[in-house]
Amino acid sequence: MTEEFKSGAAPTEAEPTATRAATPMWIIVLMLILLFLGAVYFDHNSGWFDGRLYGPYSSTEQLESYQPKSGAAAALAHGKVVFEAYCGLCHGNDGVGKPGQAPPLAGSEWVNTQGFSRLAHIPLGGINGTIKVEGKDWSMNMAAMGAGLSDADLAAVLTYIRGSWGNKASAVGADDINKIRAQMGKSPAPMTGDQMMKMPE
């Protein structure tokens, strides 16, 4: 090798050339396999470009489900789920009611009350008569939609109704529902409008 350095530049020096050998097939297959595995990894771990999703959470749904909710927020969240399953069909998910079907809950004087005993009687016993809601008469019959709900669920629904769409009434606890249920007895009859009017809040 040192001879090369002693003599300086060689008189002719060919530039390198390349053979025409092709890419071996196995490396292309390997690349495709890795691409596939990588795509699977990306699907599981990237959150699909969501800017709020950080590892180790693997999807936005997972992050959402693990969010710790404070006490009130948890009750509201649960109540919303129950309301939309049982009550929203007639009263509307937005609480404005449906003419000919159910009166509005938003801004209703029956909901925005100090106490909640009278309000709890409605889903627990049902109504069979005419009541006035926000100036209008409603003569629908309501079945005891809440009779089959657990204490916790009914309490959550009532808390949700009393805290949504502008309503600002207090929450209802599962114990309270328990007490009211006990008071009403096994198969309470639906109340009439007059009975409702006379009942204390």
């Binding site: 470009f49 180790p56 969010q67 710790p68 927020a73």
Partner: protein, 267 residues
């Protein structure tokens, strides 16, 4: 090569792809971020640094602190844990129930099911979300660092080496200005095995004035103290750097990095 133009075009696309993906997209996604709100709260986060702490970041940058310290906490996992808050009417039933079950390291569904069981037995429980990971076990943070933590930093000093501990929450671990200054002047005086160089050029050793030692003077143990009649006083740069270090706190829960804050004494 006849299709040299094609090679050139393919190369441009391959090169440009990463520019789009790792420069343009993050600038659009993260570059326009604004303050966010603490999880389940109303406080905004992060709060912009003021005064000495702002300049302190530039002192940190100028002295290359990021070459030995990181400012990012990483998280390996997350788990729910259930704790009993009230025994209820049947304390023995509830305690028997709990004794046989695992209360931590749970998934979200497992925690909910356990919580329902406890409620059914008459007790009350609380479910907490906990972040887990090596950095968290070392006490360097309660949750991982996210982009929101660096919103107002320029330049962001994430750090490249952990020759020393992570500093993301140093403001919580050592909230005392005097400690920070003493550590900068003589790291071995507060941390026996430290390999951090003493930053003596950030301090001034001067004769004690006739009126007595100044309020700023550091309280050093004998081996590190200057000669008799001298005192060590921090320069402005040292104070700014210490103020910056004290401002490094990132222990609030966020939507991106949630956890249930503990309201009892443990930090």
């Amino acid at each position: 090569m006849k299709n040299g133009a094609l090679v050139f075009l393919a190369a441009l696309i391959a090169l440009g792809g990463s520019w789009v993906g790792f420069v343009l997209a993050p600038t659009l996604q993260l570059g326009g971020e604004k303050q966010t709100v603490v999880l389940n709260g109303t406080d905004v986060y992060p709060i912009q640094r003021t005064g000495d702490a702002t300049v302190g970041l530039q002192v940190y940058r100028a002295n290359g602190c990021a070459n030995c310290h990181t400012e990012q906490v990483r998280q390996d996992g997350f788990a729910c844990e259930v704790t009993l808050t009230a025994a209820g009417k049947n304390p023995t039933v509830v305690s028997n129930l709990i004794a046989s079950l695992k209360l931590d390291g749970l998934t979200h569904e497992q925690a909910e099911a356990l919580s329902d069981k406890i409620t059914a037995a008459g007790g009350k429980s609380e479910t907490r979300l906990v972040a887990t990971g090596g950095d968290i076990d070392r006490g360097w943070g309660i949750r991982q660092s996210v982009a929101a933590d660096y919103l107002y930093d320029y330049p962001v000093q994430l750090g490249i080496l952990r020759a020393g501990p992570d500093l993301a929450n140093i403001g919580f671990r050592h909230p005392d200005m005097k400690w920070q200054l003493q550590h900068l002047y003589a790291p071995k005086s507060v941390s026996a095995h430290s390999s951090m160089p003493p930053f003596r050029y950030l301090f001034e050793v001067r004769k004690v004035a006739d009126s007595g030692p100044s309020a700023d003077a550091l309280d050093l143990p004998k081996e590190f103290a200057p000669a008799e009649g001298s005192e060590v006083v921090p320069t402005e740069a040292a104070r700014q750097l210490a103020a910056y270090l004290l401002s490094l706190r990132a222990n609030v829960p966020l939507y991106e990095a949630p956890f249930t804050p503990v309201t009892t004494a443990k930090p």
